[in-house]
């Protein structure tokens, strides 16, 4: 098979199912699920094929002149694989979960259709070979996710959608302007390890800094950086599978991933440091981390708490980028994956709690460990991971971030990390205490038992929790996210 064909198939494996799903009436559950799952498994197959090819030094790239001045480029590097794998695996989990979650509700074809398109967008982002292509998929992501946020059709959902669109559309325009300007200056250039703006001798530092700020706003909106984070907590009006997806892979990660590309492969880390861009990023990241954690402390609603926790956790990725040197970078990239797995587990659990026992507030969690032990277990593991307790995946991320801070002799960043871990513990541990150590309240028994649905709601959560442990325990294996991140970093800092 030709190498470029695989890239197209990789994208088609979620786009075609989406089209079929849209055209299938909502009541044909089996047809829809089979289409959806065959799409997912073929995507995972193509991802594995790409892994295999990369290991044998195959080059996958596809370039297509969109206009005479800008081209659509798809290409695969190790960083793409990191994000593409995350997207396709979590697509599988979320779909299984969503099938159980949305059982017997309306407009399912709309949901699963947009959901698949959303995965096309994230995978497209991961294989985008230049900033122009990245932008196209970035806007496509906005279009596919807004319908998902609106899915429950409630008043809050509508409000959330409007807030979301206002943020992302305007953010997209910032991105667009930056892109237009960059392309006028640099021409049609692909992402390169080490960046390509460094060779532009005639661009003034101020100009490059201004463009960076535009990009930071445009892309940072999706990463929910402070003060552009408002859409994320309000998007909690969306159903749990959507929140799970938005928080773990789709939207916030698109932002974080975009910033990784910008810093390492557009500007280049050396240039970013000498222009002081890393300091800007560091400031934003630190403020967002602390802000998110403090806001999370004040929440009474489980999903809201998780939302603010995401605000703070995603900025760990930015923090890692901002720390010059291989260790910080590794921390950023590893956290991209680890946070996704842990956060999706938390949302799966929160959704299951709400669906099965109508638990939405924190004070309703009392004694849940006795009522649904497996769900509670998965939730606890993921929460401990978020705090960063070994041997979970979260520990690995924080360990590398801390090493990165130490390497840069930024001791105050170490302080920030410690403080934010403390805050994480402060908002997660009370939940765990309630779940395991308090006596159950009456209201748990009111729900009828749905055994089948129960299993598929909990299974993805348990697998997610298991993964968060395994990613931590086997972090040192070659094909773990850590191993991949080390490979990428070698490229970036080799020179």
């Amino acid at each position: 098979m030709q190498n470029s064909t695989i890239l197209l198939l990789l994208l088609a494996s979620s786009t075609l199912p989406a089209l079929i799903i849209f055209l299938t009436p909502s009541r044909y559950v089996l047809t829809r699920n089979i289409t959806n799952l065959s799409g997912i498994f073929s995507k995972i197959f193509f991802v594995l094929l790409l892994f295999h090819g990369l290991a044998h030094d195959e080059v996958y790239s596809l370039s297509f002149a969109f206009t005479p001045h800008s081209s659509i480029v798809l290409k695969v590097d190790t960083l793409s694989m990191l994000f593409a794998t995350l997207s396709s695996i979590l697509w599988l989990f979320t779909t299984i979960y969503a099938i159980a979650y949305f059982k017997d509700t309306k407009n399912q074809n709309r949901f699963f259709g947009f959901f698949s398109l959303c995965v096309t967008a994230t995978v497209g982002l991961s294989v985008a070979g230049n900033l122009f292509t990245f932008f196209i998929f970035y806007e496509f992501l906005t279009l596919t996710t807004f319908a998902l946020i609106l899915h429950t059709q409630t008043v809050e959902a509508k409000k959330a959608t409007i807030i979301y669109l206002a943020h992302t559309i305007i953010g997209g325009l910032f991105f667009l302007v930056a892109l237009v300007v960059l392309q006028s200056v640099s021409g049609d250039v692909e992402f390169q390890s080490g960046g390509y703006l460094g060779v532009l001798s005639d661009a003034s530092p101020l100009f490059l800094q201004a463009i960076f700020v535009l990009l930071l706003i445009g892309i940072g909106v999706k990463a929910a950086i402070f003060p552009l984070h408002h859409w994320l907590p309000s998007a909690m009006a969306a159903p749990a599978p959507v929140s799970a997806l938005l928080h773990a892979v789709a939207v916030v990660k698109a932002g974080a991933f975009g910033l990784i590309r910008v810093v390492y492969e557009v500007y280049g880390v050396e240039l970013s440091r000498s222009l002081g861009l890393l300091d800007i990023l560091l400031g934003v990241a630190v403020v967002t981390i602390l802000f998110g954690s403090i806001m999370a402390l004040r929440q009474l609603d489980i999903k809201k708490l998780l939302a603010y926790s995401t605000v703070s956790q995603v900025s760990y990725i930015l923090l890692g980028i901002a720390l010059f040197g291989p260790l910080g970078t590794i921390g950023a990239m590893v956290h991209l994956v680890h946070q996704g797995v842990m956060k999706i587990t938390l949302f799966f659990c929160a959704g299951a709690f709400a669906k099965l026992h109508n638990i939405k507030k924190i004070d309703q969690l009392d004694g849940l460990g006795k009522v649904m032990p497996f769900g509670a277990l998965a939730f606890s593991i993921a929460a401990l991971g978020m705090i960063g307790i070994p041997p979970t995946a979260g520990f690995i991320s924080k360990y590398y971030l801390a090493l990165g801070a130490y390497e840069n002799e930024l001791l105050w960043v170490l302080g920030v990390l410690a403080l934010s871990s403390l805050l994480n513990a402060m908002y997660f541990l009370p939940l765990l205490y309630r779940i395991w150590f308090l006596a159950p309240k009456e209201l748990h028994t009111q729900q009828q038992e749905k055994k089948g649905a129960n299993l598929f709601l909990l299974l993805p959560a348990l697998v997610g929790a298991l993964l968060s442990l395994l990613l931590g325990v086997f972090a040192l294996s070659d094909w773990s996210p850590l191993g991949l991140a080390e490979k990428i970093v070698e490229l970036e800092y080799r020179r």
């Binding site: 609106l150 059709q153 669109l165 325009l173 300007v181």
Partner: protein
């Protein structure tokens, strides 16, 4: 073969208009047959233009000063091709959406309208262009009066007066030029035209005529009601095809004949900015679906006029040209698809009141999807024709350091996103009453998919941007 193509393009609409008029029971048949033939002819024309250039046709073999010259240019022929396609789909749509009495007039009139379009896009003679403008104007007014409500009749009367005044202005300009130079052929006029008061006055008349006919803000007063109250296929034709013809002339004349000061062409671009915001705000405030679409047209026309900000620039003029051309194609396809899809929604709902249309995504999903695709192109989100246009406009604005226009383009994008997403969110909400589902009939399927085809193309054709740009040179 290509030599006879231009007379064929002129005779076909005339013939079929007469046939449709005579056999009014079979008007739809002749109309759709015409649509197919006309579209094939225009494809041949595009092929001819691409392979054989320059190319001129002289009627009766008489050369330019005496005879009438037709010369297909690449841009004009492309618009004609897209127009023929939109016309074909609209004709198919009208077969299922109009009542029989309306059909008997709709097909002959719009077939005749096609004749006017051919003349305007292919002719090189400023008087023949006048004839084309009159044909278009009168057919358009007739079409807009097909809906016999008092509101529609009033709107078409206003439309009639505006278009007549505009034609008169244009004719005045032609007369002055003919008196001064004794020439009517554009390419013959270019070398002799001089910057003198009478010439400038003539050009002034022409520009006002074009502005009025294209409905450029603030001369756009006639458009919204005329477009909003016409039957759906008519609205689609009026907004997608008719106003484009006069805009094309304005661009063609500005690029070849007019010898304006830079300030004046800048003034036109400022009118464009005014149009973008005026139309956008009015669209946002509309409570009537078709009125919203009509105001959106006024706003989109503004994007076409932005080219005049960059026509004299030292920077690469081809960028601004691409931007304008793509804005034109985007609007032609997206707006016709939008109107046709909205027609289905209105037909099911029996009301144009936007607030009553909540939840229509579950009732007619294909139409709402079509509207969404049109919206993508109109807002300029990637990858769509509208995006390519916006991309080139932004690049032109940046390279020529026209910050005002840069911000206007961005602001216009936000505004159109606001009114279009407002609509889409409403469609995706919970339906007000499920009973509407019953009112969706089988015949709506064709209507939905014709609309969808147009909207889809306004997005999908962006993937061929490179070839389109290469074709237009």
């Amino acid at each position: 073969m290509f030599n006879n193509l231009i007379p064929a393009l002129i005779i076909t609409p005339a013939l079929f208009a007469i046939l449709g008029f005579l056999f009014s029971k079979r008007a739809a048949f002749f109309g759709i047959a015409f649509g197919l033939i006309f579209f094939s002819e225009s494809l041949l024309l595009l092929y001819g233009v691409a392979t054989k250039s320059p190319w001129a046709y002289h009627f009766g073999g008489w050369q330019a000063p005496l005879g009438i010259a037709f010369a297909p240019l690449r841009f004009g022929s492309s618009i004609l091709g897209v127009s023929a396609f939109v016309m074909l789909l609209t004709f198919i749509y009208a077969r299922f959406s109009l009542q029989e009495s309306q059909r008997a007039l709709f097909y002959p009139l719009s077939t005749f309208l096609a004749l006017g379009l051919v003349v305007v896009y292919l002719s090189q003679d400023i008087f023949t262009i006048y004839v084309g403008l009159e044909i278009i104007g009168l057919c358009a007014v007739g079409l807009s009066a097909l809906q016999k409500s008092p509101k529609a009749l009033h709107a078409s009367l206003v439309y009639l007066f505006s278009t007549l005044v505009a034609s008169g202005f244009y004719l005045l300009g032609v007369v002055i030029i003919y008196a001064k130079y004794g020439l009517l052929n554009i390419s013959a006029l270019i070398p002799v035209i001089q910057e003198e008061l009478p010439t400038l006055v003539a050009f002034g008349f022409m520009v006002v005529a074009f502005l009025l006919k294209t409905a450029v803000f603030p001369l756009s007063f006639w458009l919204a009601n005329a477009h909003a109250n016409a039957p759906t296929p008519v609205s689609a034709l009026l907004s997608a095809l008719v106003i484009k013809a006069t805009f094309y002339l304005m661009y063609l004349f500005a690029a070849t004949l007019f010898i304006f000061e830079y300030e004046l062409s800048y003034f036109l671009a400022f009118l464009g900015v005014g149009a973008i915001f005026y139309g956008g705000i009015k669209a946002y405030l509309s409570s009537d679906l078709k009125l919203l679409i009509a105001y959106s047209t006024i706003s989109q026309v503004g994007y076409l006029l932005l080219i005049f900000a960059f026509i004299d620039e030292h920077t690469d003029p081809s960028m601004a040209f691409n931007a304008m051309a793509f804005a034109l194609f985007s609007h032609t396809l997206a707006k016709s698809g939008f109107f046709l899809a909205a027609g289905v929604v209105v037909h099911i709902a029996q009301t144009k009141e936007i607030s009553a249309l909540q939840g229509y995504a579950s009732i007619t999903p294909v139409s709402v999807f079509a509207i969404a695709l049109s919206a993508v192109s109109l807002i300029g989100l990637p990858p769509s024709l509208g995006f390519v246009s916006k991309w080139y406009y932004l690049q032109s604005a940046y390279l020529s350091e026209s910050w005002f226009f840069l911000f206007a383009i961005i602001g216009g994008g936000i505004l159109s996103a606001a009114y279009l997403f407002k609509l889409l969110i409403l469609f995706l909400e919970h339906p007000l009453e499920e009973g509407h589902l019953l009112r969706r009939e089988k015949s709506h399927t064709t209507l939905e998919w014709t609309a969808f085809t147009l909207s889809f193309l306004s997005v999908f054709l962006a993937f061929f941007s490179n070839s389109i740009i290469a074709f237009m040179g």
